[in-house]
Amino acid sequence: MKARVVVTLRNGILDPQGKAIEGALKALHVDGIRSVRQGKIFDVELDAADRGAAEALLREACEKLLANQVVEDFQVEVS
Protein backbone atom coordinates (compact mmCIF):
# COMPACT_ATOMS: atom_id res chain seq x y z
CA MET A 1 0.00 0.00 0.00
CA LYS A 2 1.27 3.48 -0.79
CA ALA A 3 0.56 6.67 1.07
CA ARG A 4 1.59 10.28 1.24
CA VAL A 5 2.05 12.26 4.43
CA VAL A 6 2.03 16.05 4.19
CA VAL A 7 3.42 18.07 7.09
CA THR A 8 2.83 21.81 7.14
CA LEU A 9 3.44 24.64 9.58
CA ARG A 10 0.39 25.60 11.61
CA ASN A 11 -1.46 28.76 10.68
CA GLY A 12 -0.07 31.72 12.55
CA ILE A 13 3.44 30.25 12.82
CA LEU A 14 5.93 32.45 11.02
CA ASP A 15 7.48 30.61 8.06
CA PRO A 16 10.67 32.48 7.10
CA GLN A 17 11.46 29.98 4.31
CA GLY A 18 8.04 30.36 2.75
CA LYS A 19 8.41 34.15 2.95
CA ALA A 20 11.80 34.00 1.22
CA ILE A 21 10.39 31.82 -1.56
CA GLU A 22 7.47 34.23 -1.91
CA GLY A 23 9.95 37.10 -2.28
CA ALA A 24 12.04 35.15 -4.81
CA LEU A 25 8.97 34.44 -6.93
CA LYS A 26 8.13 38.14 -6.92
CA ALA A 27 11.69 38.91 -7.98
CA LEU A 28 11.27 36.46 -10.87
CA HIS A 29 8.11 38.31 -11.92
CA VAL A 30 5.90 35.28 -11.25
CA ASP A 31 3.01 37.58 -10.50
CA GLY A 32 -0.29 36.86 -8.81
CA ILE A 33 1.02 34.72 -5.95
CA ARG A 34 -0.43 35.94 -2.69
CA SER A 35 1.56 33.85 -0.23
CA VAL A 36 3.73 30.74 0.06
CA ARG A 37 4.02 28.31 2.97
CA GLN A 38 6.65 25.60 2.82
CA GLY A 39 6.02 22.05 4.06
CA LYS A 40 7.29 18.50 3.75
CA ILE A 41 6.03 15.47 1.84
CA PHE A 42 6.79 11.86 2.82
CA ASP A 43 5.96 9.11 0.32
CA VAL A 44 5.54 5.94 2.31
CA GLU A 45 5.12 2.27 1.37
CA LEU A 46 3.53 0.21 4.09
CA ASP A 47 2.11 -3.17 5.02
CA ALA A 48 -1.38 -2.65 6.29
CA ALA A 49 -4.48 -4.82 6.05
CA ASP A 50 -6.77 -1.99 5.07
CA ARG A 51 -7.14 1.72 4.72
CA GLY A 52 -8.13 2.26 8.33
CA ALA A 53 -5.10 0.38 9.63
CA ALA A 54 -2.83 2.31 7.24
CA GLU A 55 -4.19 5.65 8.41
CA ALA A 56 -3.81 4.68 12.06
CA LEU A 57 -0.20 3.60 11.46
CA LEU A 58 0.66 6.83 9.65
CA ARG A 59 -0.97 8.95 12.35
CA GLU A 60 1.22 7.18 14.88
CA ALA A 61 4.28 7.85 12.68
CA CYS A 62 3.38 11.55 12.53
CA GLU A 63 2.74 11.88 16.23
CA LYS A 64 5.93 10.08 17.19
CA LEU A 65 8.34 11.52 14.65
CA LEU A 66 7.28 13.03 11.33
CA ALA A 67 5.56 16.14 12.69
CA ASN A 68 6.41 18.37 15.63
CA GLN A 69 2.92 19.18 16.81
CA VAL A 70 4.09 22.27 18.67
CA VAL A 71 4.21 24.03 15.30
CA GLU A 72 3.18 21.55 12.61
CA ASP A 73 0.00 19.87 11.35
CA PHE A 74 -0.12 16.74 9.23
CA GLN A 75 -2.40 15.15 6.65
CA VAL A 76 -2.40 11.49 5.64
CA GLU A 77 -3.48 10.36 2.15
CA VAL A 78 -3.67 6.62 1.49
CA SER A 79 -3.83 5.81 -2.23
Partner: protein
Protein backbone atom coordinates in the same frame (compact mmCIF):
# COMPACT_ATOMS: atom_id res chain seq x y z
CA UNK B 1 31.60 16.64 39.21
CA UNK B 2 30.77 13.47 37.25
CA UNK B 3 29.68 14.62 33.83
CA UNK B 4 28.52 12.44 30.94
CA UNK B 5 28.65 13.99 27.47
CA UNK B 6 26.37 12.18 25.02
CA UNK B 7 27.83 11.65 21.58
CA UNK B 8 25.38 11.35 18.67
CA UNK B 9 26.33 10.76 15.05
CA UNK B 10 26.95 14.32 13.86
CA UNK B 11 27.71 15.91 17.23
CA UNK B 12 30.78 18.10 16.84
CA UNK B 13 31.20 20.19 20.00
CA UNK B 14 31.70 17.30 22.40
CA UNK B 15 35.47 17.99 22.50
CA UNK B 16 34.87 21.63 23.42
CA UNK B 17 32.50 20.78 26.24
CA UNK B 18 34.80 18.05 27.56
CA UNK B 19 37.60 20.62 27.64
CA UNK B 20 35.42 23.05 29.60
CA UNK B 21 34.37 20.31 32.04
CA UNK B 22 37.93 19.08 32.65
CA UNK B 23 38.51 22.02 35.00
CA UNK B 24 35.98 20.36 37.32
CA UNK B 25 36.54 16.60 36.97
CA UNK B 26 36.94 13.87 34.40
CA UNK B 27 33.96 13.95 32.01
CA UNK B 28 33.03 10.78 30.19
CA UNK B 29 31.83 10.53 26.60
CA UNK B 30 28.78 8.27 26.27
CA UNK B 31 27.75 6.88 22.87
CA UNK B 32 24.07 7.44 22.04
CA UNK B 33 23.40 3.72 21.55
CA UNK B 34 24.17 3.00 25.23
CA UNK B 35 21.17 2.48 27.47
CA UNK B 36 22.69 3.51 30.80
CA UNK B 37 24.60 6.49 32.10
CA UNK B 38 27.85 5.89 34.04
CA UNK B 39 27.06 5.24 37.73
CA UNK B 40 27.13 8.41 39.82
CA UNK B 41 26.51 10.79 36.91
CA UNK B 42 25.73 14.29 38.24
CA UNK B 43 25.41 16.11 34.94
CA UNK B 44 24.39 14.99 31.45
CA UNK B 45 25.46 17.24 28.57
CA UNK B 46 23.95 17.08 25.10
CA UNK B 47 26.58 18.88 23.02
CA UNK B 48 26.27 21.02 19.94
CA UNK B 49 26.59 19.87 16.37
CA UNK B 50 24.36 18.49 13.68
CA UNK B 51 23.06 15.18 14.99
CA UNK B 52 21.86 13.01 12.10
CA UNK B 53 22.70 15.85 9.74
CA UNK B 54 19.72 17.85 11.02
CA UNK B 55 17.56 15.52 8.90
CA UNK B 56 13.78 15.86 9.32
CA UNK B 57 14.07 18.56 12.01
CA UNK B 58 17.08 19.56 14.12
CA UNK B 59 17.32 17.11 17.03
CA UNK B 60 14.24 15.10 16.04
CA UNK B 61 16.02 11.81 15.39
CA UNK B 62 18.54 12.10 18.23
CA UNK B 63 15.60 12.55 20.62
CA UNK B 64 14.74 8.89 19.97
CA UNK B 65 18.24 7.52 20.67
CA UNK B 66 18.47 4.58 23.12
CA UNK B 67 20.36 6.63 25.75
CA UNK B 68 17.56 9.20 25.98
CA UNK B 69 15.41 7.02 28.25
CA UNK B 70 18.25 7.10 30.78
CA UNK B 71 18.53 10.87 30.33
CA UNK B 72 14.80 11.23 31.05
CA UNK B 73 15.13 9.08 34.19
CA UNK B 74 18.15 11.12 35.32
CA UNK B 75 16.19 14.37 34.90
CA UNK B 76 13.16 12.86 36.70
CA UNK B 77 15.44 12.09 39.67
CA UNK B 78 16.41 15.76 39.74
CA UNK B 79 19.74 15.14 37.97
CA UNK B 80 21.26 18.00 35.99
CA UNK B 81 20.93 18.12 32.20
CA UNK B 82 22.54 20.73 29.97
CA UNK B 83 21.68 20.96 26.26
CA UNK B 84 23.80 23.32 24.20
CA UNK B 85 22.72 24.42 20.71
CA UNK B 86 21.83 21.14 18.96
CA UNK B 87 21.52 19.72 22.48
CA UNK B 88 18.83 22.35 23.19
CA UNK B 89 17.07 21.37 19.96
CA UNK B 90 17.18 17.72 21.06
CA UNK B 91 15.73 18.61 24.50
CA UNK B 92 12.71 20.41 23.00
CA UNK B 93 12.10 17.59 20.50
CA UNK B 94 12.41 15.15 23.41
CA UNK B 95 9.89 17.13 25.45
CA UNK B 96 12.13 17.83 28.47
CA UNK B 97 11.80 21.53 27.60
CA UNK B 98 8.81 23.24 25.97
CA UNK B 99 8.65 25.07 22.63
CA UNK B 100 10.60 24.67 19.43
CA UNK B 101 13.62 26.19 17.68
CA UNK B 102 12.66 27.44 14.24
CA UNK B 103 14.77 28.66 11.34
CA UNK B 104 16.48 31.99 12.14
CA UNK B 105 14.24 34.89 11.13
CA UNK B 106 16.81 36.18 8.63
CA UNK B 107 17.29 32.64 7.23
CA UNK B 108 21.05 32.81 7.72
CA UNK B 109 23.35 30.57 9.68
CA UNK B 110 24.76 32.94 12.29
CA UNK B 111 28.27 32.35 13.62
CA UNK B 112 29.69 35.10 15.79
CA UNK B 113 30.13 36.46 19.30
CA UNK B 114 26.96 37.54 21.07
CA UNK B 115 26.08 38.94 24.47
CA UNK B 116 23.39 37.32 26.57
CA UNK B 117 21.90 38.59 29.82
CA UNK B 118 21.85 36.28 32.83
CA UNK B 119 18.22 36.45 33.95
CA UNK B 120 18.75 34.90 37.35
CA UNK B 121 21.75 33.72 39.35
CA UNK B 122 19.96 31.61 41.95
CA UNK B 123 20.14 28.40 39.91
CA UNK B 124 22.61 25.53 39.78
CA UNK B 125 23.69 26.69 36.32
CA UNK B 126 24.29 30.37 37.00
CA UNK B 127 25.35 30.91 40.63
CA UNK B 128 28.78 32.17 39.56
CA UNK B 129 27.23 35.00 37.55
CA UNK B 130 25.17 37.89 38.85
CA UNK B 131 21.64 38.69 37.83
CA UNK B 132 21.51 41.08 34.89
CA UNK B 133 25.13 40.40 33.93
CA UNK B 134 25.84 40.54 30.19
CA UNK B 135 28.19 37.73 29.24
CA UNK B 136 29.92 37.33 25.91
CA UNK B 137 29.50 33.91 24.33
CA UNK B 138 29.62 32.41 20.85
CA UNK B 139 26.59 31.57 18.76
CA UNK B 140 26.63 29.26 15.74
CA UNK B 141 23.24 28.12 14.53
CA UNK B 142 20.74 28.21 11.69
CA UNK B 143 17.73 27.18 13.80
CA UNK B 144 17.79 29.13 17.05
CA UNK B 145 14.58 31.10 16.76
CA UNK B 146 12.79 30.09 19.95
CA UNK B 147 9.02 29.87 19.58
CA UNK B 148 6.15 28.49 21.61
CA UNK B 149 2.43 29.19 21.84
CA UNK B 150 1.42 32.29 23.79
CA UNK B 151 0.24 30.26 26.77
CA UNK B 152 3.58 28.43 27.05
CA UNK B 153 5.56 31.66 26.74
CA UNK B 154 3.42 33.23 29.47
CA UNK B 155 4.00 30.21 31.71
CA UNK B 156 7.79 30.19 31.16
CA UNK B 157 7.98 33.92 31.85
CA UNK B 158 5.65 33.70 34.86
CA UNK B 159 7.70 30.92 36.41
CA UNK B 160 10.97 32.78 35.83
CA UNK B 161 12.28 30.04 33.59
CA UNK B 162 14.11 32.21 31.06
CA UNK B 163 17.81 31.59 31.74
CA UNK B 164 19.40 33.93 29.20
CA UNK B 165 18.23 36.61 26.78
CA UNK B 166 20.08 38.03 23.80
CA UNK B 167 21.25 41.54 24.63
CA UNK B 168 23.80 44.16 23.67
CA UNK B 169 27.17 44.60 25.39
CA UNK B 170 25.49 46.70 28.10
CA UNK B 171 22.85 44.11 28.94
CA UNK B 172 20.05 45.91 27.10
CA UNK B 173 17.55 43.59 25.41
CA UNK B 174 16.80 45.34 22.12
CA UNK B 175 15.39 44.21 18.80
CA UNK B 176 18.72 44.73 17.07
CA UNK B 177 20.52 42.62 19.69
CA UNK B 178 18.28 39.65 18.95
CA UNK B 179 20.17 37.68 16.30
CA UNK B 180 17.57 35.11 15.29
CA UNK B 181 14.09 36.43 16.01
CA UNK B 182 13.55 34.43 19.21
CA UNK B 183 10.35 35.24 21.10
CA UNK B 184 11.16 37.64 23.97
CA UNK B 185 14.85 37.34 22.91
CA UNK B 186 15.00 33.98 24.67
CA UNK B 187 18.43 32.34 24.37
CA UNK B 188 17.97 29.65 27.01
CA UNK B 189 15.29 28.20 29.28
CA UNK B 190 15.03 26.04 32.38
CA UNK B 191 12.74 23.14 33.12
CA UNK B 192 10.04 23.47 35.77
CA UNK B 193 12.39 22.23 38.48
CA UNK B 194 15.39 24.21 37.18
CA UNK B 195 17.52 21.07 36.79
CA UNK B 196 17.42 21.08 32.98
CA UNK B 197 18.85 23.96 30.95
CA UNK B 198 18.77 24.34 27.18
CA UNK B 199 20.55 27.22 25.49
CA UNK B 200 21.60 28.12 21.97
CA UNK B 201 24.89 29.95 22.77
CA UNK B 202 28.15 28.09 23.38
CA UNK B 203 29.60 28.89 26.83
CA UNK B 204 32.05 26.00 26.32
CA UNK B 205 33.82 28.04 23.65
CA UNK B 206 34.50 30.99 25.96
CA UNK B 207 36.77 29.41 28.58
CA UNK B 208 40.20 30.52 27.39
CA UNK B 209 41.45 34.14 27.15
CA UNK B 210 43.42 33.11 24.05
CA UNK B 211 40.24 32.56 22.09
CA UNK B 212 37.86 35.37 22.83
CA UNK B 213 37.27 35.45 26.57
CA UNK B 214 36.30 33.48 29.63
CA UNK B 215 32.67 34.45 30.21
CA UNK B 216 31.58 30.85 29.63
CA UNK B 217 33.55 29.50 32.59
CA UNK B 218 30.93 30.67 35.08
CA UNK B 219 28.35 28.16 33.89
CA UNK B 220 30.64 25.18 34.41
CA UNK B 221 31.94 26.57 37.72
CA UNK B 222 28.32 27.00 38.86
CA UNK B 223 27.54 23.37 38.03
CA UNK B 224 30.67 22.17 39.83
CA UNK B 225 29.72 24.22 42.88
CA UNK B 226 26.20 22.76 42.85
CA UNK B 227 27.04 19.05 42.94
Amino acid sequence: MNAAVILFPGSNREGDVVRALKAHGAPKIVWHAETELPPGTDLVVLPGGFSYGDYLRCGAIAAHAPIMAAVRAHAARGGLVLGICNGFQILVEFGLLPGVLMRNANLRFICRMQHVRVERSDTKFASQYHQGQAIKVAIAHGEGNYTADAQTIARIEGEGRVAFRYCDAHGKVTGSANPNGSTHAIAGIYSERFNVLGLMPHPENLIDPLVGGIDGRGLFASLAAAV
